[in-house]
Structure formats: C-alpha cells, structure tokens
C-alpha cells in the first residue's frame, strides 16, 4: 500500500496535516453536510444510503462512528489506518443492491469511492472560500495530496482521482454536470433530516427545547446547504433559489470561521461528539452533570406548563396511561426505535445488518468474528421473514410486526445472543467482566444487572438480550446501544 506522497516533507497523515487543522473547525460541520449532500446526489451512493444507512433514524450514532473512523484514517499510526481501511472495506463490501429504477449499486465501486473523497476535498476548499479565507495554491495542492493518500489507503491506489489539482477541478465539474441527480437521499438530507433530527442521547431529557431549537435551525441549515451547492447541481436538481439565502450562507460560514480567534483548544470536535453521544444514565461525570441540568429543565418546563392559562377543553385520555413500574413499550415503539434502523418504515435485511454493523463497530471486531455475527443476524432475518412477512413482499412492515407480536425468541435469535456473547467475551473465559461490558455498552455494570462476583454470565447475558429483543423491555443497557439516536 503506497500511502506516502512526497518523501522528506511533513507526513501526509497525522497531527500536522491540513486535514487535522480543519478537524476542530466549526466551518467543517457545515462543509461536511454539504459534502454529504454532494455524495448522496451521486446515484450509486444515493441508492446505497437510502437502502443501508441509519443516518435518518440514528444520525448521532452514525456521526460518532464516522468521526472516529476519520480520526483513525487520518491519524499518524499506519497500523491503525490499515486496520481501519480493512474494516471499512469489509463494511462496504456487504453493501450492494439496486436502486428504485433497477440500477445496480455497489459500495465497493472504485469510481464512486473516489467521488466521496472528492466531495470531502472540494467542500474543504469551498468552505475556506465561502468564509472569506481562501487557501493559497500550495496549501490546496498539499491538501489534495492528503486526500488522495486517504483514497489510496482505502483503495490501494488513488488512480481514480486525477493526479494533478487542475485536472481535479475539471473532473469535479464534469461529475457535477453529468452524473449527479436529484436523488432521494439528497432530498432526505436537505429537507427531512434536519426537520426531524432526533435529539442526541445527552439532550434526550429536554424534548421541548430540542424541538423548538430544531424548528428554527433545521430549515436554516437546509437553506444554507442548498445555497452552498455548486450552481450546476442546483439547476439540474431543481433546487429553489431564495432571495438573501446566499448572504445568509456566507454569513454562516464567516461566523463559523470567526472561531479561529477563540483561544486554542476551546472547540474540540472529538469531545463534543463524544459528549453528545453519552447516554444520560451513563456513569460518565459529564453525563451526570447534564442529567442534573436536564432534570432542572424538566422541572422548569413542568412549571411553565402549569402556569400557562387553561385551555378549557378536556380530552378523555385515548390510551390508558402507563401503569406504575411498567417498563414495557408498545410493539410500534419497539419497531420504530430498535428494529427499523434505517427509518424507512420497513424491517428489511439492511436494518438487521445495521445492528450487526453497530455491534461490530462497538466491539471493534476483526474477521472471522465479524462474519460470524453477520451470519447469525442473517439467520435471524430469515427466521423473522418466515414468521412475519405475511404478504410476501420480502420485508416486514410495522403492521405485520404489530399484528404478529410474535414469539420472536426463536432459535436464531438465541444464536445471535450467543455469538454476541462470545464476541464480547474478548478473553474467552466464558464470562463478561466489567471492562468487556464497558466496551459493548460504554458504561459500568448497572446495579440491577444480575452479576455474580462482578462478572456477567452467559445465561444472564442471553436472557437479558432476549428480553430486550422480544420482551421489549426498556431501560436496559441495550437502549443506548440500539435505540439511541
């Protein structure tokens, strides 16, 4: 694998790279959204995203995974990079299919993967231009070399991207003009994702505040992103032009760019992403602080509701309120929060594959454990399909699931639990200790967990997994893992 560019100079990867410099830059947040839209506008990537990605239902988990992956890919350690590239390749090799018009897509297609890297590079350059601090030619060329090296680390070589920066712009314009389409995935990102963005785990306790903020920021982000897209694409995709939006967009980039005057270290993307994905009942001190804050906000909003004048009309409660101490959830909720990982309203193989993917990522699995886990999930999918797909369309709808609310704990699901246990039990001693538990659930043993002598036995693990997956028990450690946004 040839990952080094020009010898003798500063290395292309690591803390001194241009890429690392942008990592904690707030403009990068806007640029990443823009890059993602440009990726999604590519028909192949768009189809793969719509089918497989969990970014609609679980955007924050997805963001965190992407972030950690980028950090590994651009880190200084070549061993970590090679391992991460192999993992990404395995992950993408499991994604292929066909879009709604029957065109095949394959997440391993080399030209398509080059386009992903191209959008990232172009968005980084554009973000600097839009915020009034354009990069000089040398920096740009150096950064281009970094991104090509990134592609090479993934693909073996970077031949799909032009060697020269001048040729790159011609390549980029050609793809924008000829290949990009108004795909469903791009529309979802521009118009649906931000309007329905679920609260990150940390802010889950303040739904009113989150919804209010989202109602303002969501449409703004959409408009800003549209305005920052290349003119040629906006025309082709028929995106709206609204007066003042381009000023707003440049203002947003400029404002984000002002963060460079903040003292160094004030904005650290990694700690922000990490903090956002903390579950409030985790044992991290930051989560506890926020949980305390959230409790205060909950009280404040309760007081506010009690103080608002009476509306007058009383409605009989349509559903009986939850009984005392009940921690079950309805079949619909379970379907939406846990089973339908891609958020398309159907349970399909990509949903279960997304679960397997998340578990593999958490446990940082290598082959052959990864394939074992995927196989177990695939067997479970066949079991589910046979039991639930009554209309024979190959997937399970929320109604089919709710109607059956079945004996989900079949042999294949038990097998999943056992394989997951083996994968979590890294040292293979037949029990899960506190460290192994933390790797999977990112928190210490819960008090209500049935542990003996500080270890979690296989039978307890399997029965807890089954009661989550079939008994629909909430408030277990699995909630932040599979249901969290």
């Amino acid at each position: 694998m040839t990952t080094t560019g020009t010898a003798g100079e500063t290395p292309l990867f690591g803390p001194d790279s241009r890429f690392s410099g942008f990592f904690d830059d707030p403009r990068w947040a806007l640029a990443i959204i823009r890059a993602t839209v440009l990726e999604a506008a590519h028909p192949q990537i768009g189809a793969a995203l719509v089918d497989n990605s969990t970014f609609v239902a679980h955007p924050w988990r997805r963001l965190r995974n992407t972030f950690l992956s980028m950090r590994r890919m651009f880190g200084a350690d070549p061993v970590v990079r090679e391992r991460e590239a192999a993992r990404l390749n395995r992950l993408h090799a499991r994604m292929s299919g066909s879009d709604c018009r029957g065109r095949a897509y394959d997440a391993m297609d080399r030209a398509t993967r080059a386009w992903v890297v191209a959008t990232l590079f172009e968005s980084a350059v554009t973000m600097c231009r839009l915020s009034g601090q354009p990069l000089d030619q040398d920096t740009m060329e150096r950064m281009y070399a970094e991104y090509r090296a990134f592609l090479a680390a993934l693909d073996g070589d970077a031949s799909e991207l032009p060697e020269d920066l001048d040729d790159f712009w011609r390549y980029f314009d050609r793809v924008v003009e000829d290949e990009l389409e108004n795909t469903e995935a791009a529309r979802v990102i521009l118009y649906r994702l931000f309007d329905h963005l679920p609260a990150p785990a940390l802010l889950d306790g303040a739904p009113t505040l989150w919804a209010a903020g989202r109602a303002v920021v969501g449409p703004l982000l959409g408009a800003i992103t549209v305005a920052s897209l290349p003119e040629a694409y906006r025309r082709r995709a028929g995106l709206p032009e609204m007066p003042g939006v381009s000023t707003l967009m440049q203002g947003a980039y400029c404002a984000a760019g002002l963060a460079r005057f903040l003292p160094e270290g004030w904005i650290n993307a990694e700690s922000i992403v990490e903090a956002l994905s903390l579950s409030p009942d985790s044992d991290d001190p930051r989560a506890r602080t926020v949980a305390a804050l959230a409790a205060r906000m909950k009280r404040a909003s309760a007081l506010l509701r009690l103080l608002t004048p009476l509306s007058g009309v009383l409605h009989p409660d349509p559903a009986p309120s939850a009984g005392v101490g009940e921690s079950r959830r309805s079949a619909e909720e379970f379907f939406r929060d846990v089973l339908d990982q891609t958020g398309d309203g159907h349970l399909d193989w990509p949903d279960l594959a997304a679960m397997a993917r998340e578990l593999c990522t958490r446990l940082d699995l290598d082959e052959p454990e990864e394939t074992r886990l995927y196989d177990a999930f695939a067997a479970w999918w066949r079991e589910l399909q046979a039991a639930l797909d009554t209309d024979g369309d190959g997937r399970v709808s929320a109604e089919e699931y709710a109607a059956a609310v079945p004996s989900l704990a079949g042999p294949a699901l038990i097998r999943v639990a056992e394989v997951l246990f083996d994968a979590t039990d890294k040292d293979g001693n037949g029990t899960i200790d506190a460290d192994e538990y933390r790797t999977l659930f990112r928190t210490a043993f819960h008090r209500d967990l049935t542990t003996t002598d500080g270890v979690y036995s296989q039978s307890a693990f399997v029965s807890d997994f089954l009661s989550f997956m079939s008994g629909r028990r909430t408030n277990t450690a699995y909630d932040p893992l599979l249901a969290g946004a």
């Binding site: 309760a302 007081l303 009690l306 103080l307 009383l314 009989p316 409660d317 349509p318 005392v324």
Partner: protein
C-alpha cells in the same frame, strides 16, 4: 406526633345540600380546606400527608359531577403548584390509571410531581382514582411477573411491589362527616392505623380541627396487637 396522616375528605355533598346548593358547590368549598390542612400538617411537623380525593368507585357518580370534579382538580392543581413548590412539599398522585381521566389533567399531575420531586419537606400523596384492592392486585401481578418464588414472598417484599413503596404505614386516618368506613382506601398501609371520625363536614374542617385530631391520636395507646405496657408499679 403521627408520621403519616391520611384524610378521607367526606361530606362535601352534604355540606352543599344543607345550604340548598348544588353538590358541586361543596367540592368547590373543599379547596380552601385542602390548602388549610396541607399548611397545618406541614407546620405541625407531619412528614407524610395523604388525601383521598377520588376513588375508583367515584366513577359511578353522575357524569356532570365527575366532569366538574376533573375541571376543579385541574384548576386547583395549577393554582397551587407554585405554593406547593415554594413550601418544599413533594407531591405525588396515587392511582391515576383510568383512561377516563382527561389527558390534560394527567399531564398536570405528572408536571406537578416532576416539579416538586426534589422537595424534601412534607410528602403529599393525593389518591386520585385510587382503590386499595387494585393496588394490592397490581403488586401481586408485579410479583408474579418478576418470577419471585412463593416461599420468598414476605410482607416486606410484597410491600416493595406496591405503588410508591417508600410510603410508610399510615399512623392516623381522619375521616370527616362522621362516616365510619374504610372505603377501599390504602388498604395495605392502614393495617395499624388509628382512626378518628370528627362529625364536622370536610368543607368546614379547619386547622384547629386537624390539630385536635392529632391531639386525640397522641392520647391513644397504640399497641400494634400487643399488651399495654405497665406504667404503674414498674420497677424500671
């Protein structure tokens, strides 16, 4: 001093009838008493106060009266929420399971409970849509669901499955208007309670009457089924 005092707020209807007013006027007049008693109990150092506001059997009352009660309770809860918060009273609602309870009222109950959850003063439990037998049945269900072996079930363990298991046993129940019935009220918790039955109707019941009941309680000789301790001639 009794630790846990419960009031069965009886006599609103009769109070109104005696004045040739509609029954609803009696419920309205009860509001003043409720606030007065909460304040009196807090000042007297009672740690737990429970009020029986609405029983599972009260649903059989005329629809208009039930509707009126729902509205009234909602207004009272909202009106006094800031006061309860400021006085450090922790409020919670026992029961509240029926689907006929308006959504808005259930939300207000939840909000008030959330708002005052952190208070460390007196705990005020309002039994609304409450039935003592139902709570016991629910506890039994919960025990069975948790797959507790029959031999392991003790009184303490059973009590842990009741709603609000931290509630201590009731020491004193005050039932106004001279009626002398239990009426399915907190059956498990009143096992060893002393009962007083003042003749006064609930809307006329005031802080001095409440203190008089506390006084009666203090003169009672609570034996919990044992024999009275010898107070005369005991060498110790």
């Amino acid at each position: 001093m009794p630790r846990h005092v419960a009031c069965v707020m009886d006599g609103n209807g009769r109070w109104a009838q005696r004045r040739s007013l509609p029954r609803t006027a009696g419920h309205q007049a009860a509001e003043t008493t409720v606030i007065d008693i909460i304040e009196a109990a807090r000042a007297a150092g009672v740690e737990w106060l429970s009020l029986y506001a609405f029983s599972t059997e009260n649903w059989s009352r005329p629809g208009t009266e039930v509707d009126f009660l729902m509205r009234l309770v909602r207004r009272v809860v909202r009106k006094h929420a800031p006061l309860l918060l400021a006085r450090g009273i922790r409020c919670r609602f026992l029961g509240v399971a029926d689907s006929r309870i308006p959504r808005e009222l259930a939300q207000d109950f939840e909000d008030l409970a959330t708002l005052t959850a952190g208070n460390r003063g007196m705990t005020l439990t309002v039994a609304f849509d409450h039935g003592g037998r139902r709570d016991i049945v629910e506890a039994a269900r919960s025990l069975i669901r948790s797959r507790t072996p029959a031999d392991e079930v003790t009184e303490q363990l059973f009590a842990d499955h009741l709603p609000f298991p931290d509630t201590p046993d009731v020491d004193l129940v005050i039932r106004t208007s001279g009626e002398q019935r239990i009426s399915n009220f907190m059956l498990w918790q009143v096992a060893y309670a002393e009962w007083v039955f003042p003749e006064v109707l609930w809307p006329d019941f005031r802080a001095p009457d409440f203190l008089a009941c506390l006084h009666t309680y203090r003169r009672r000789d609570r034996r919990f089924g044992g024999v009275p301790p010898r107070t005369m001639g005991d060498p110790s």
